[in-house]
């Protein structure tokens, strides 16, 4: 159907247009990247029971003694409800801080409760630390790949993130030192080294003691604060707890801990252990954000630590996760196409899988979701587009039979994708999916 040509479009006060958001011109620059993404939308399907989700990092809370929790929280409300349902100090409950010091002793850390700041999950501790240290443009050095939640924090404070070469032993100290020098030579302002040394998310690897010492030495010699994120330290399958980097340096490390992986993520109780001066600022920043962390959650955790055999419960988690890790590794060994490689975690939740032949895990994700299996594409763990041929598989939530079924489905998807690549050739220079916005599941995804 043809009509006269279109005239030029001039502003028309009677038809000014709409962006469906009256505040679009008012958002801060740091909010510019906060958009919906097709990849994240795909994960909404992964919540359905038909889908085997090897994507999320949710602990298997079904294994908790839920009846005991119910009795304990009922008693807590009855006997200490007036306190539990009230505000508390910004730094957090004193008894819980003492108990947290006991937990950290398992990692070789000798800490004073005054230096502990309790937060809403360790994610908030990370956020507060970056807030008090980083101005826009400051450089943060991270592993390759790095925890997506940390990348989100660095991005929201407009930091420049530099991925440092990471080998089988974790963050490479030589590469780290060179990266710091390079940034300084370029006139940039290095601020933090962020590392997950134990059962890394997403790599699943652990830094051996010698490597930890080398990384710490680089941090000290370059005058940078080391941010040690250690939520999985009690989840080693051999029952040993690796000595934390913080155990060997009280002044140069901010240590982040959490009960999310060891007890219950829904309680949202984490902490930062920081040098005195830093701790003061973290408390003030926390009060500015939330006044105080949830007192009910803190007292619940405190009561649980005081009255339950929590180390036995965590031992149960370790055995459960080891069985699932084994199911994942064995089924990958049996079913994954030749050329696929993966890390073998000694603890924690994740294995990092690298695919052959130039496969793109982001482009493959819709096919996987349609095939009722979910994973997190590797690109989500980088800020610079790396990781296209990799994916993070988690084994923490699905039961072993479901993990095997998930790997069976995934291997079929990969083979189909390999046929597609054989037909069309590698696709490394284009982005068929929109990559704007978050490319990982929302936290509640199991």
């Amino acid at each position: 159907m043809t009509v006269p040509p279109n005239p030029p479009k001039l502003p028309n006060p009677a038809n000014p247009g709409s962006r469906l958001d009256p505040w679009v011109a008012s958002y801060a620059e740091r909010a510019q990247g906060m958009t919906t993404s097709a990849i994240r939308a795909l994960f909404s399907v992964a919540n359905r029971p038909e889908v085997v989700s090897l994507a999320g990092g949710a602990p298997f809370v079904q294994a908790l003694p839920l009846d005991d929790f119910a009795d304990m929280t009922a008693k807590l409300i009855r006997e200490r409800g007036v306190t539990a349902l009230q505000y508390c100090t910004g730094q957090g409950d004193e008894r819980l801080r003492e108990q947290i010091c006991g937990v950290m002793e398992l990692s070789g850390i000798d800490a004073h409760p005054d230096d502990v700041v309790i937060t809403t999950g360790s994610q908030m501790a990370l956020d507060l630390t970056v807030r008090v240290f980083c101005d826009p443009g400051d450089v943060v050095f991270v592993e390759s790949p790095s925890y997506v939640g940390a990348l989100g924090v660095f991005s929201s404070y407009q930091c420049e993130v530099v991925h440092v070469m990471t080998d089988d032993d974790g963050l490479n100290p030589v590469a780290l030192s060179e990266a710091i020098d390079t940034a300084r030579l370029a006139g940039k302002k290095p601020k933090l080294i962020y590392t997950v040394p134990t059962y890394h998310n997403p790599l699943g690897i652990t830094q051996p003691p010698a490597r930890r010492a080398e990384v710490l030495q680089v941090a000290k010699s370059s005058g940078l604060l080391l941010l040690e994120d250690d939520p999985y330290c009690l989840l080693g399958f051999d029952g040993e707890v690796p000595r934390a980097i913080r155990a060997d340096d009280a002044d140069g490390v901010v240590y982040l801990g959490s009960f999310s992986k060891t007890i219950a993520s829904g309680l949202r109780v984490g902490w930062a252990l920081a040098p005195h001066g830093v701790r003061e600022k973290l408390v003030l920043a926390s009060e500015a954000s939330v006044l105080c962390p949830s007192n009910f959650s803190q007292l619940t955790v405190s009561e649980y630590l005081a009255t339950s055999p929590w180390l036995e419960q965590i031992k149960g988690f370790r055995e459960l996760y080891r069985e699932r890790r084994d199911a994942l590794l064995e089924s990958m060994e049996q079913m994954m196409p030749p050329g696929t490689t993966w890390t073998v975690p000694d603890g924690g939740f994740f294995s990092w899988v690298t695919l052959p032949n130039g496969l793109d895990t982001t482009a493959m994700l819709p096919r996987a979701i349609s095939g009722l299996v979910a994973y997190v594409p590797g690109t989500g763990f980088y800020v610079d587009g790396q990781g296209r041929d990799a994916m993070r598989l988690s084994y923490c939530f699905p039961e072993p039979d479901r993990i095997r079924e998930g790997v069976r489905r995934l291997s079929g998807i990969i083979e189909t994708e390999m046929e597609l690549i054989e037909t069309f050739g590698p696709t490394s220079n284009s982005a068929p999916l929109s990559r704007r916005g978050p490319t990982t599941p929302s936290p509640e995804l199991p």
Partner: protein, 318 residues
Amino acid sequence: MSQRVVVIAGGLSPERDVSIRSGRRVAEDLRKAGIEAQVRDIDATLIPYLLEDPPTCAFPLVHGVAGEDGSLQEVLQSIGLPFVGSGAHACRRSFDKAIAGALLADAGISVPESIALPQAMFRDLGAPVLLAAIAEQLGLPLVIKPNRGGSALGVSVVHNAEELPAAMVGAFAYGEVVLIQRYVQGTEIAVAVTEDGDGPSAMPAVEIVPDSGLYDYTARYTAGTTEFFTPARLPDETLAAAAQTAIRAHEVLGLRDWSRSDLMVDEAGTVWFLEVNVAPGMTETSLVPQAIAASDTSASIVLAALVERATTRSQSED
């Protein structure tokens, strides 16, 4: 008689999230009209639920395969439950972009030249040769999209031949057949069609101006990233032609109750049909709610009228 509507939303397609948001909004608007409305997902409990206590009618809002390819409508027809929207056959021919385009081209509507092929054809004939031949035939730029699907998932605009393989892989991730279509430069608009007692009528055209230049998933569902003009900033004759195109598409494809046609108007004023939606999105950023808002009516009134039509028509019309 008081009406009770079950809005069916969700499903297992990549558009699940969009569908759920659409379903919630439609249910809310129906409640404002005094209609009892619940949202239900497609799962093993749905059919027993519908059979045990049949609602007055169903309102399918599942996007993507199963919701728009006629499968869900076939099921609703088989259990004899009235529902809003097009019947199974009409959905089937509309959801397949190649079939819908061919039918409408035969009816005299301008449809960009296109080729729809399965992956096996590229494998058997050799992708480089075949893609080169198609690019030569249709000319660049090209739009690459899954032949069946929505929300622009898997859609790319390709400006040079080197980008074609990645675009094909991206589109095949969402379906077995990919449509390669000549790209039409111009003004992108959407025209919603609703039926009342006097037949189909068009709502004001919504003009779409994405900041990124491509109305992709992010531009569709992130408020602020796309500017909309309703009615579209086009001459009255063009708007009338666009309305007529949407109505003709609705009629030729045998659609019922409502639809939304996505159109492109080129520099010469030609209105090109791109695709039609039998279960249009109804989220906060979707196009039909904007068209309704520009029509001096409300979503409650429009949706309640659709429910009324569905509940009063005879089963034989399914």
